[in-house]
Point group: C2
Chain length 143, copies 2
């Protein structure tokens, strides 16, 4: 096992020390103890941080991420939930691909209005449908 202080974790992960403390407080990462006052981390925390980064990039909240790998360490949600997240992600990916294509189209297309282009219209349709879905979800979830 390799021991690291917070500065080394920060350096190797690219995550500021303040954020590391914040994540620890939230229970997202853990130190294996203290050396005096100072937190001692093991290399596993780097993977954990990568996982967190991944989840964040995917649009999950820290709480959601925390729920994914429960207190004992490894990914915890049941298969059904995991697959549901994957499907959700899949939809996001399609959208983002649509946006990417839309941007490339916008860059390439000399037409005065992108709104006339079927590709562009389709892209918009996908996005708003998804937005509606997300809003509906976030409203029903808290209750």
């Amino acid at each position: 096992m390799k021991w690291m202080d917070i500065a080394e974790v920060a350096r190797r992960s690219g995550v500021p020390a303040s954020t590391l403390r914040f994540y620890e407080e939230k229970g997202l990462i853990g130190s294996v103890g203290r050396r005096g006052l100072r937190r001692v981390f093991v290399s596993g925390v780097l993977e954990r941080l990568s996982l967190i980064a991944l989840g964040r990039a995917a649009g999950f909240s820290l709480d959601e991420i925390g729920a994914m790998f429960a207190p004992d360490g490894r990914p915890q949600v049941d298969r059904v939930q995991l697959l549901a997240k994957a499907d959700e992600l899949d939809r996001s990916i399609h959208q983002l691909a649509a946006l990417r294509d839309g941007l490339r189209h916008a860059a390439a297309c000399p037409a005065p209005s992108h709104m006339e282009c079927p590709t562009f219209q389709r892209m918009l349709h996908v996005a708003s449908a998804d937005q509606a879905r997300r809003r509906a979800k976030s409203r029903s979830k808290p209750g």
Copy 2:
């Protein structure tokens, strides 16, 4: 042209009226005038909202989105910037695809530790690299 009041825009777009006013204040959408005090929107605003939704889903801030389609209406940034955004998006898509695969893998794999799986490790690597890139960018940008 079809005229809509704020409630209809809200209903058809799924975006709350409060958010529509907020977006208008930010200059992201515009009403074509007033009927008494009341804002009057045209159907084009729905497309605009879709575009905003799309940008948000892609992880752009409202300011960035605003910058994409300047005051005059249509997407405005120069081709280079547009293509840069598309490339950025492309990287996000790859990451998300990695996460999606990772989640599916986690759901399917009965191993006690996902960390041992090369697929999973690779996914993590991609995510943290991207995170580092994003952090570096957001620090250099404001200055």
